[in-house]
C-alpha cells in the first residue's frame, strides 16, 4: 500500500476519532446538564414500625440525556462515641435509562430502641465527637463512574452541657404549699439547636406518690449560658407520723425534671432531692413534778416541760392533755388542757398544771402520759416523772 494511501486513511480515521471523542464528551456533558433541572426531592414519608422509625426521601431524576445513569446508590450511618448507631440510611442501586424518569428512594432508619434514655441523656449533656460514614455512587456507563465517600468525626455540642443543679432552698409559699427553689445552669454548646420553652418537674416521694410539681422557663440560644431557678411547689403535709413529729430526719424525694428539647423529645432527668426535716416537737423534756396542797382529796401539780419547733415552716398548734399514772398503771391525776401555739424555729418552755389524788402524793416516780392533738395528727407520748 502506498504511503500516501496510508496517510489518507489515517487522516480519515483521525477525523472519525476526533468526532467520536467530541461526541462522547458532549453526550456525557449533555446527559448531566439536561438532567440536572429534572432532579427534585419529594415529600418525606415517615412511618414507625415497632421501635424503628423509617423516613423515605424520594429523589426523582428525569434522565433527559443520551446515556443511562446506572448504579446510583447511597449509604449513610451516624454513631456516637460509644459506637451506638443512631441513624442508618441506604438507597439504590438504581438504573435510569436515557429518556426515562425514575425515583431514587433514600431510606433513613432510626432504631429508637438503640437510643435509650441513657444514650439520649449522654447526647444532651455531653459534647462529643459523632462518627459519620457516608458514600455515594453512580455511573454513566461506559464513560464516567463516580464514587464519593465521607467519614470522620464532627463535633456534637451538647445543648445541656455542664448541667448543674444547686442546693434547694425551701420557703413557705402559702398555708398549703412550700416553694422550693433549685438553681439550674447549663451551657448550650450546640451551634445548631437553641433550647427554649418551659421545663417541668414532678416530685415523687418514696412511695411514688406525687408530692410536688413545678416549672422553669428556659431561653438558651445556641452557644450560650443559661442560669435560672426551678420552682417546685410542695404540698404541705396534712398528717405526720409520730416519728416525723418528734425526730429530725432526712427525707428523700425523686424529682423528674423534663427540659424542653428539639425534635428528640423532652430531656427527662431524675434528680434526687433531699430535704432536712426539722421535727415540730423536738427535744421534748419534762422537769420534776411539784405538788402543793389543794383540798382534802387532791393536790395541785406543776410540771415544767419544753420542746423546740425545729420545723422550718410548720407551726405547732393544738391541745396537749396529760394524765399522771402510778408505776403500776393506776391513774393518779390529770393535767389541765394546754393550748399549743408554737411558731417554727421557736422553743416552748412552760408548766403543765393539774391535780393529783392526795393518796398518790409521795411516790418517787410516776408515768406521765402526754396526749398531743395537733393539726397534723394526734399521738401519745409517755415519760417517767420524778417527784
Amino acid at each position: 500500500m502506498k504511503t500516501s494511501t496510508i496517510v489518507k486513511s489515517l487522516n480519515v480515521l483521525i477525523i472519525i476519532t476526533i468526532i467520536i471523542a467530541i461526541g462522547a464528551v458532549a453526550a456525557v456533558a449533555m446527559t448531566i446538564a439536561q438532567s440536572a433541572p429534572y432532579v427534585s426531592i419529594g415529600q418525606f414519608s415517615p412511618n414507625m414500625t415497632g421501635t424503628v422509625a423509617r423516613i423515605d426521601i424520594p429523589v426523582t431524576i428525569g434522565n433527559r440525556g443520551y446515556l443511562a445513569f446506572a448504579d446510583l446508590n447511597a449509604r449513610l450511618s451516624l454513631k456516637d462515641s460509644n459506637g451506638t448507631t443512631f441513624v442508618e440510611g441506604s438507597g439504590g442501586p438504581l438504573t435510569i435509562p436515557a429518556g426515562s424518569t425514575s425515583t431514587f428512594v433514600l431510606t433513613i432508619t432510626i432504631d429508637t430502641a438503640q437510643i435509650t434514655p441513657e444514650v439520649l441523656q449522654g447526647l444532651m449533656t455531653n459534647s462529643q465527637s459523632l462518627t459519620v460514614n457516608a458514600s455515594l455512587g453512580g455511573a454513566i456507563p461506559p464513560m464516567v463512574s463516580l464514587t464519593a465517600s465521607a467519614s470522620g468525626n464532627f463535633y456534637w455540642g451538647a445543648p445541656f452541657k455542664n448541667l448543674q443543679m444547686g442546693s434547694p432552698t425551701f420557703i413557705t409559699y402559702n398555708s398549703t404549699h412550700l416553694l422550693t427553689m433549685i438553681p439550674v445552669s447549663f451551657d448550650n454548646d450546640s451551634p445548631y439547636f437553641p433550647v427554649s420553652g418551659q421545663g417541668s418537674v414532678r416530685v415523687l416521694d418514696a412511695n411514688g406518690q406525687q408530692v410536688g410539681s413545678g416549672k422553669i422557663d428556659i431561653n438558651a440560644p445556641t452557644n450560650s449560658h443559661f442560669s435560672g431557678n426551678l420552682q417546685i411547689y410542695f404540698v404541705m403535709p396534712t398528717t405526720l407520723t409520730e416519728s416525723l413529729l418528734l425526730n429530725d430526719t432526712t427525707l428523700n424525694f425523686n424529682a423528674l425534671i423534663e427540659l424542653p428539647s428539639f425534635g428528640m423529645g423532652a430531656l427527662t432527668l431524675p434528680y434526687p432531692l433531699t430535704f432536712e426535716w426539722g421535727a415540730p416537737i423536738k427535744d421534748l423534756t419534762v422537769g420534776n413534778l411539784q405538788t402543793t396542797a389543794h383540798n382534802a382529796t387532791h393536790a395541785r401539780v406543776t410540771l415544767p416541760f419544753s420542746f423546740k419547733d425545729n420545723s422550718a415552716f410548720l407551726p405547732v398548734q393544738g391541745a396537749l392533755t396529760s394524765t399522771i399514772l402510778l408505776i403500776n398503771g393506776t391513774e393518779a391525776g390529770t393535767g389541765d388542757s394546754y393550748m399549743l401555739n408554737v411558731s417554727p424555729g421557736t422553743t416552748l418552755s412552760d408548766n403543765l398544771t393539774g391535780y393529783m389524788k392526795n393518796e398518790a402524793v409521795g411516790q418517787t416516780s410516776y408515768i406521765l402520759r402526754l396526749n398531743f392533738q395537733t393539726a397534723y395528727g394526734s399521738f401519745i407520748e409517755e415519760v417517767t416523772l420524778h417527784a
Partner: protein, 165 residues
C-alpha cells in the same frame, strides 16, 4: 521563493501557513497553557467570591487537580502546533506530528490523572469530616487520546517515507 528546510513555498503560501499556525498555536496556547496556568484567578473572575470556599481551602484543592507540568507541556504543544502548520509536507513534519501526538497524550494523561481523578476534600470544608471523590474518566481519556495515537502512527509513517530510498 522562500525555502524552509526542504520545502519551497510561495510567499503567499508561507504567509497563509504562518497565519494559520499563529491562530492554531494561539488557540492551543489559550486552552492548554493559559487556562491551566491561571485557573485560580480565572475562577475568581467568573464565579462570585461568596460562592467559593475560603482560598485557604480552595487553592490547595485546585492545585491538586491541576498538575504543575500541564502549562509547560501546553507551551511545548503551542510551539509544536505552530511548527506543524508551518512545516506540513517537509521532512520535519513526521517527527513533529510524532512529538505533538506524544505530548498531547502526556498532557491528557496528566489532565485526567491517569484516568481516575481523585479529590480529597479538606476536613475544614465539611465540619471536620474528611471526604473523597473519585471520578473514573478512563474511557473518555482513551477516546481523546485516540486521534493523537493515530497522529503518532501517521508521523511514523511519514518518517519512514522520508528516510526511505
Amino acid at each position: 521563493m522562500p525555502k524552509i528546510l526542504d520545502l519551497e513555498l510561495k510567499a503567499s503560501s508561507l504567509a497563509l501557513r504562518v497565519i494559520i499556525g499563529i491562530i492554531a498555536a494561539g488557540i492551543t496556547f489559550l486552552l492548554l497553557y493559559y487556562l491551566p496556568a491561571n485557573f485560580l484567578s480565572l475562577l475568581g473572575q467568573f464565579v462570585p467570591a461568596q460562592a467559593l470556599p475560603d482560598p485557604s481551602i480552595l487553592n490547595p484543592l485546585l492545585s491538586s487537580l491541576v498538575n504543575p507540568s500541564l502549562p509547560m507541556i501546553g507551551l511545548l504543544l503551542t510551539v509544536l502546533v505552530f511548527l506543524e502548520c508551518l512545516l506540513r509536507g517537509s521532512k520535519a513534519y513526521g517527527p513533529i506530528l510524532l512529538l505533538t501526538g506524544l505530548s498531547f497524550i502526556a498532557y491528557l494523561y496528566l489532565l485526567f490523572h491517569g484516568g481516575t481523578i481523585t479529590i480529597t476534600l479538606p476536613a475544614s470544608l465539611l465540619m471536620g469530616t474528611s471526604a473523597g471523590v473519585a471520578v473514573d474518566l478512563t474511557t473518555i481519556m482513551l477516546l481523546l487520546m485516540l486521534p493523537s495515537i493515530l497522529n503518532i502512527i501517521k508521523g511514523a509513517v511519514l518518517m519512514t517515507k522520508k528516510s526511505g530510498p
